[in-house]
């Protein structure tokens, strides 16, 4: 009998706030990015290029898990490219 038992709710990584992501602009400095989105929790180990990955992962007790990633690529300390797995409206 599948009894609605309590299942562990797992939340990991950074909270990604859509309107904060919308304020990201190329050319911003690292400090400005950190002020907007905080410190990235997944720092990567053997990273060749200068990039920050903001990962939000939520696995509720029941139902599908949610994963979103916003990566910020820097060139000489300035934001060069922004990747967002969940494009606005997506």
């Amino acid at each position: 009998c599948n009894v609605p038992s309590f299942r562990l709710d797992v939340q990991q990584g950074n909270a990604i706030d859509d309107d904060k992501v919308a304020q990201l602009r190329e050319g911003m400095t690292a400090r400005q990015v950190a002020f907007l989105l905080g410190t990235p929790q997944v720092k990567g180990t053997f990273v060749r290029e200068d990039r920050w990955d903001y990962v939000y992962y939520h696995r509720p007790g029941r139902g599908a898990s949610e994963l979103r990633r916003v990566s910020v690529f820097f060139d000489h300390g300035r934001v060069a490219r922004i990747e967002d797995t969940q494009a606005p409206g997506g």
Binding site: S5, F6, L8, Q12, G13, A15
Partner: protein, 738 residues
């Protein structure tokens, strides 16, 4: 006339060496010396403090110094000191230079008296009298005898508040630390004056007024006056209440993170109400706590009042400054010298790599605290160096030996001599699993029981376990009707968490019961056996739901526990019957060490199908330390034809209990005392229930978490009893199951 010193001789030395004295002399061999320099020599030697008299003479070209050593202190004796122990006084005097073997000179006498007087004044003994006698001893030593008349401690006779109209003196000084003790507090030191206590009381006075709207309440001045005989103290506090203010508009400002309505509900303060600082502070705290669950660990909310003097209203704005959203990087667990770290980590609701959640951390503390092998847990948040929004958590656990290999003999009233051997470990080999192996033999029963429970079988916290048991009992000895029931069987237990506090438990099991009758087995039992035979194979399943928010399993200080259960012996078994049970407990935390518990238990069973009543060996009984204290074990309720307790199919018990720490040893948290009122009775069946048949008792009880296991001791006096009841005031039990 001056001369060149050829040699220096020192006369009169006893204990002090010539070498030491020479080092202090301002002159040496070869210097030119004349009378003009003698005062210099004399002063130099006097300053050492060793000598009471110094003379300078000359013999040819030899400088002769004649000294008289000061006496050394041989013995220091105190008499009459009771409030301050002797060694405390000796330490105090060492600071002033009075010590065995040290040099004694009269000048330090008044310094000694002064130092002692300071010690006593600090304790409020204002009329202490001190006199010191010096007795000379041979070999230039002295004894110091200090007799002290400590006198009485100055007692506070009255705390008088002047200028208070809104509240009378009594209601203001009730919670003061200084004042006249209540008539029953004979050991209280409340009337001993101390400045810290008084300043603490002034703080209490101010918060009392600020919590009742008197915004600009102020203490004009305080006077502490002493009677000339220095025995009594009168304290006067002159206050200016100022006006009482009410709350005007209330609103929120700053970065709210959450919708304003949700935060507004957390604010206790309503417009129009009397301004209360406590409510304002609590509302601010509640908002910031709510924000911590969203990751804003360093959120702070400060209420800014704007006072409108005409309308006497205060407009309140709660400024919310959430600070950054904070992430938990590492959670380190220390102190688990006997347990696997994962046993603790799996209880935590807060995870690494997630944002900080205040509620989850509080919940984690309580869950670890509830583990039976944990004595105390302390969670500390530390900022990660160089990062604004990351913290580490440090969880320091102190463990408690929760049961161990215990072989022992015991004695309990209803079981006679009890030989037990049990390895019961709540934390078997540190794995967090509970394993119990116990064998016991007594005049009454032989029992073997092996049970295993893994409280955290799945990562979600479901538990699983099983137990097998064999029990042979001689009912006669156990003061139950004349028959013996041998049982063996086993069961499997599944615990499924339905929510943070609720758990569903399913326990299918099999049991074989064999009834052995004796010569004078009563008729009721014989009839039953004629109908049903004396051997039964029973397949049963118990389903129960438990809701438990208590903050500890052993000595809960607050929270509630409600359990409703139904045990059904399935069709196809030799007997068909069911038992329904409910047990509820509400615990209210009165203060740090006092809690009030209201608890009730109901049990009802009946046969179905081919069995028309609850079998007698499954009857409920009442009386004894587990149900209604003050009455002999199992003695309540219906009796069989031989006038022995027969039990019944419906039992109700209830209890009101006030828990308090062991007096004089309040910090010993292995013992808890309580005063209780129990009530309860067992009835043949539900419709026999009569309220005035309920037996009531009251008394004192104590539970001690001894290394061998929990020991309960109770002294109960029946309040409502009927003739024929067997009462028993002192009862105890070793290894009470929890």
């Amino acid at each position: 006339q001056s001369y060149v010193i050829e040699d220096i001789e020192i006369e009169g030395l006893e204990r002090i060496t010539a070498g030491t004295t020479l080092t202090y002399l301002p002159v040496q061999v070869g210097d030119t010396f004349d009378d003009a320099r003698s005062p210099e020599v004399i002063r130099a030697l006097f300053q050492t403090g060793f000598f009471s008299d110094v003379e300078v003479a000359r013999r040819g070209d030899v400088l002769v110094v004649i000294v008289q050593e000061r006496p050394a202190i041989n013995e220091i004796r105190f008499s009459g000191n009771r409030d301050i122990p002797t060694d405390a006084l000796t330490d105090a005097l060492q600071g002033v230079g009075l010590q065995r073997g040290r040099v004694f000179n009269r000048t330090i006498l008044d310094r000694i008296e002064n130092e002692l007087r300071q010690q006593y004044l600090a304790r409020g003994r204002y009329n202490v009298q001190i006199d010191i006698e010096i007795t000379e001893l041979p070999r230039n030593r002295v004894d110091v005898d200090i007799t002290i008349a400590e006198g009485q401690v100055a007692r506070i006779r009255e705390v008088n508040i002047v200028g208070n109209e809104a509240f009378d003196d009594r209601s203001l000084t009730r919670r003061f630390e200084s004042g006249v003790p209540r008539w029953w507090a004979f050991l209280s030191r409340r009337d001993h004056y101390s400045r810290q206590k008084l300043s603490g009381d002034l703080e209490k006075l101010r918060s009392h007024y600020l919590d009742e709207g008197f915004l600009n309440f102020d203490v004009d001045s305080t006077q502490v006056t002493l009677t000339p005989d220095r025995k009594d103290i009168y304290i006067t506090i002159n206050v200016d209440e100022g006006a009482q203010y009410r709350i005007g508009a209330v609103d929120l400002a700053g970065d709210l993170i959450l919708p304003a309505e949700e935060l507004r509900e957390l604010i206790e303060v309503q417009p129009g109400e009397v301004f209360s600082r406590r409510e304002v502070v609590e509302s601010a705290e509640r908002i910031s706590r709510r924000l911590t669950t969203e990751g804003f660990a360093f959120a702070n909310v400060n209420p800014v009042p704007e006072v409108d003097e005409e309308t006497r209203e205060v407009a309140l704005t709660f400024f919310v400054d959430p600070g950054p959203r904070v992430y938990v990087r590492r959670i380190t667990i220390t102190g688990n010298s006997r347990t696997l770290e994962s046993v603790y980590r799996r209880e935590l609701r807060q995870m690494e790599g997630a944002w900080f959640n205040g509620d989850q951390i509080d919940r984690s503390r309580v869950r670890v605290q509830r583990l039976p092998f944990v004595e105390s847990v302390n969670i500390e948040t530390r900022r990660v160096a160089g990062s604004e929004d990351e913290v580490d958590l440090e969880i320091a656990v102190t463990e408690r030996m929760s049961g161990a290999l215990s072989l022992g003999a015991g004695y309990s009233q209803n079981q006679g001599l009890l030989l037990t051997g049990s390895l019961s470990q709540d934390n078997f080999l540190g794995s967090g699993n509970r394993v119990t192996i116990s064998l016991s033999r007594s005049d009454v029963s032989q029992m073997v029981n092996f049970s295993v429970l893994n409280p955290h079988y799945t990562i979600h916290g479901a538990s699983r376990g099983f137990s097998v048991f064999y029990q042979e009992i001689d009912a006669e000895e156990a003061n139950i009707s004349r028959f013996a029931a041998n049982r063996f069987g086993g069961d499997v237990t599944y615990g499924i968490p339905l929510s943070e506090f609720g758990t569903l438990t399913i326990q299918p099991g099999f049991e074989n019961v064999e009834i052995v009758t004796v010569a004078d087995t009563p008729g009721e039992i014989l009839d039953f056996i004629d109908r049903e035979g004396n051997q039964y194979n029973l397949l049963s399943t118990e389903v129960s739901y438990t809701y438990d928010t208590r903050d500890s399993v052993i000595f809960a200080a607050s929270g509630r526990r409600h359990r409703v259960g139904a045990e059904l012996v399935l069709p196809g078994s030799d007997l068909q019957y069911y038992r329904l049970s409910y047990s509820g407990q509400e615990i209210f935390k009165l203060s740090d060490s006092y809690s009030l518990s209201l608890s009730a238990r109901l049990g009802y069973g009946d046969g179905y199908g081919s069995t028309d009543e609850l079998p007698f060996f499954e009857h409920y009984f009442a009386g004894g330390i587990r149900t209604v204290r003050g009455f002999k074990d199992n003695s309540l309720g219906p009796r069989d034809s031989n006038d022995d307790p027969y039990g019944g199919s419906f039992r109700t018990t209830g209890s009101v209990e006030l828990f308090f720490p062991l007096p004089f040893a309040a910090d010993n948290d292995a013992v808890r005392m309580s005063s209780f009122v129990d009530a309860g009775q067992v009835f043949a069946s539900v419709d026999d229930f009569e309220a005035d048949e309920l037996r009531v008792s009251a008394g004192l009880a104590m539970t001690w978490m001894s290394p061998v296991g929990p020991l309960s001791l109770s002294y109960g006096v029946p309040l409502r009893e009927k003739d024929g009841d067997e009462t028993q005031s002192v009862q105890f039990l070793l290894g009470a199951a929890f």
